[in-house]
Amino acid sequence: MKNIDAYTHLRGESIYLDDIPLIQGTLYGAAFGSPVAHGVITSLDTSEATAHPGVVRIFTYKDIPGENQIGGIVPDEPLLADHEVHFCGMPVAFVVAESIDAARAAVKKIKVAIEPLRVITDPREAQALGELIIPPRTFQLGNTDQAWQQCAHIFEGRADTNGQEHLYIETQGAYAVPQEHNALKVYSSTQGPTAVQRAVSRVTGLPMHLVEVEVNRLGGGFGGKEDQANTWAALCALAAHHLKRPVKYSLHRMEDMAMTGKRHPYSADFKIGLNAELKIMAYEVTFYQNAGAAADLSPAVMERTLFHCTNSYFVPHVKATAYSCRTNLPPNTAFRGFGGPQGMFMIESAIAQAAEAIGVDAAVIQERNLLQTGDEFPYGQKAQSEAPECWNKATGLYNLTTLRKQVDAFNTTNKWHKKGLACMPVCFGISFTKTLMNQARSLVHVYTDGSVGITTGAVEMGQGVNTKILQVAANTFSIHPDRIKIHSTNTFKIANTSPSAASATADLNGKATLLACTAIADRLRKMAAEELSVAINAITLQDEFVWVNGMKTDRDWKSLVMAGHTKRIGLSEHAHYATPDIHFDATREKGHPFAYHVYGTGIIGVTVDCLRGTYTVDSVKVVHDFGSSMNTAVDIGQIEGGIVQGIGWMTMEEVVYDKEGRLRSNALSTYKVPDIYSVPKEIAIDFLQTPHDNLAIFRSKAVGEPPLMYGIGAYFALRNAIRAFNKKGHFPFDAPMTPEKVLMALYATPQEGTIPPHEETSKHLAVDK
């Protein structure tokens, strides 16, 4: 089944936030962001801006009737700066005017004086100063201290990954409309309607039942709208609440890029030990997460880094520690993979360093250490592993041996172009790691004409979740999909939702929908059984008809529903689903946090132009564990898109802040995401159909995040190609591998630092390129 939104998407008829027809009297907002990354506000002068024609009012923290606080996990994030600013772009004031132009012009006339304080952009610097968002956490398995003795090879090193801008093509935004009894209706481009509802409620002081948040769909989210849609919604709500007029704010791209957080940059120190058979015996790693100026989702992201610190490998002795470091960057936030990719990059770097030093292909170490069923993760869960199956199928199907020979032959005969190859196994846990979030509700109405309306907590952002939920209902009722409409997500219809995130949305909301549809179907079946004087088990709904003992009757769906209504049988159901069997004890850092894991193996091939430092990704060949895919078109789309986004993170996407914490890559002209010419020439995807029962909806495993991690292989493939040209050159594990880093590495000398860093260049992450 194709994406149910494709028709309106292709005609430009799908409605996004900025397309909602406006109510008369609508005003327009624009935020004034701090020009300084850290300092004390000594004066704020809005007089000239207030006098600008068309300006209605300028709001500051003083106008907040409730609490000036939008922090979700930790209450450390004011909506509007009060006395201090903590990052460039931090909202200080909110201008509301009769037109967009007036609001934007007025913002430029606001004057603020800020006494600067020390600006920290480097997480290691923050950690050294004790600037931590939460206390550090450590995951442990076995005893690394004793394990080093069993190792024939021990390597220590460091690896860094940069941030990643979400670059959803639809920017953030909100539209707040006052209702009677002081209530507010807020249209928001958010993955977390309840998070927005909570933030608006907190800021305005209104109870949650007066705050209706409505989400039709998003023009992309990728995690960027999980928590960070709250600000704009709360600002519009604050203004609408005061002015009793609708207020809209759809961010300009440069505002969005400057004011919102990104994927967390990480720095890590690692130590890896292998025995003579190249089994990884011990792995120690310390992560320095660059959280930015407030907690946002950083503690949860950090936790997932720890969960995925050994990727797809079994390591008997592990000690992984993570620091969430407070810096003066915009609060970094969820991004597809949610800390997992960073954890995986570090162990892949450790393996690569070991392989380079020992003189074997990294794939040899990777293969020897793949998780087997029954192996224990550092957090205590036992693996139901598909890792060897994926690896064996991928290396066989795509013929890794031949691929490697071709690369070697090419590199022998070509001097100025070099090819590189890397394998990237992936293991990703499915479930919110915060157990309480693994619940969902679905509201299903069957109308008397046989049509069905469904509301869930899922937000459609391109991932096809509504298509899958519709399939669940069509399948359960056995009716034509055209009879079913998935409605917008709305906090007055479905309460207390978890955000659409963690790849778990289709599972959670799909299962709730399955429960709701099954309950209604069972009532209708019972009625039909009574009518026909047969046992209920004899009744099935099939192809829009009632069947008895496998024989079609002439009772069709529509008349069945009508009869149900006549007999006063409930044709609506609100069902609740909570993932069973999962638990996690954070005091021991042990438990069974995931409903299941998704596995896969990718083989990535690249070619480097050794004269210019440019490169192409030639192929990504994947065997992916789908369980049993319920929608192959949607799932292939998620995999192709995830791979390209992961490659972007590892190659051309470079978030650049200067030392003062100002974003320099602040527009699409300076921050580059993959275009159609830069994507792999070939992406091959093979379905690993795994027969085991699992907790996925219809046994169709979650597919949103895991494929992104195949992109990590592009980094190591490029590294291998560079090493084919410059065997001895020293170059660090430092992603992304931009053409700049490639060229510098191609001509690097064996000693570290012999290419002198430019005076403005600092070593630390994300700063000053």
Partner: protein, 464 residues
Amino acid sequence: MIKFILNNKDIATSLPPGMVLLDFVRYHQHLTGTKVGCNEGDCGACTMLVGELNNNELRYRSLTSCLTPLGNVHGKHVVTIEGLNMEGLNPIQQAMQDESATQCGFCTPGFVVSLAGFCLSGKSATQQNAIAAVDGNICRCTGYKSIERAAAKIAHLMQARQDTDPISFLSANRFLPGWFAEIKQRLYLLGTELNGQSHATTATEWLGGGTDVYVQKHDSLKDAAIRFLFDDTRLKGISRQGNRCIIGAAATVTDLYESPLLQQHFPRLNEHIKLISSTPIRNIATVGGNLINASPIGDLTIFLLALDAVLVFSNGDQQREIPLRKLYKGYKNLDRQADEQLETISFALPASDTRFNFEKVSKRTNLDIASVNSACCYTLEGNQIQDIRISAGGVAPIPKLLEQTNAFLKGQPITEISINKAIAIAQTEIAPISDARGTADYKRLLLGQLIKAHFITALQLTDH
């Protein structure tokens, strides 16, 4: 009063001619199928098609409506996604649906419009050409593979066109609504009606395609008094006079790309131009705009510097010639009077023994601004370099002709030693800074590599 046809509707508006087309269509005409993505021409979500009559031939081109003022579509036909909708999906939309080439859907209308631009272009029906039409469209969801598959399908469908006029073919095959057939006549009548009408007599801003000016001054241009140069026929055209090529200042990059004269003298022109921005930007970006914008990294500026181009300015009374290499006095500081307008750019066409090369490296190969770019034009006598001009962008406050390097190379043989010496000299006359496009160290190393690349064959830097 700006008049044009928007899809099937006649528009006459008194709104400021400096307002961008995107805002007019979305917020005044309430056609919301066209999306706002980046406001700087870098994502393609706002792509529209613009049709105009040229010698009684109706020709459509895609453009980024976020950078296009209403004044630049005066008298033309503007097509948005709504103008491509019919009952059910058209074959472009159908191919996209069949290949699941839409996910969140926000970029999708832009892709459909760009692909319609391909179908209307009359270009040969290859997947490569269909993909080239979406080189300015960014999709963050799909990874493009499904879009590539849809493009292949659409190209296949277009093979049936053969030599038929694109509009007739597309109308007959239900790619386009029936009213498209009337547009040519309607544009002709509109043109007759507008004949002699001009706007903005006392202009404070002069504007070509707007591709750079609207990025820099989006907010202030809306209400500015603008003199629109884009459609000034006196500034159009690419012609030959003796051995010189004369380019009108308002010629677009696409005009260069499609010029038989330039294609003849620059056999790798397509390869070079493909590195410059994207199809919808090339369709509106002017050569003059690239030079006057004075970006230290302007691709065409670097291209033309190596060709020793000469510019003709006019203040209405007098003309003044100045070599391009003398135009830039400092960062964005030009040797040009406020009342002087660039009219033409000319250069000697490379002779058969002249070698020309253009190199550009950026974070993303296509649709990006260079970290460093460089062009080189030289002749040889035996193995000795005669005339040589190497230009370089991104390594100084101005687009730079490497004069000392060039002086050194004159008379030298092309050897590894001489080129390495030249690179060392180049290092002394450049002053790159670290910015979002790379560190100063990188730019220094990269320029050296690009200079080597200019002599790639002679230095045996190729693989075979």
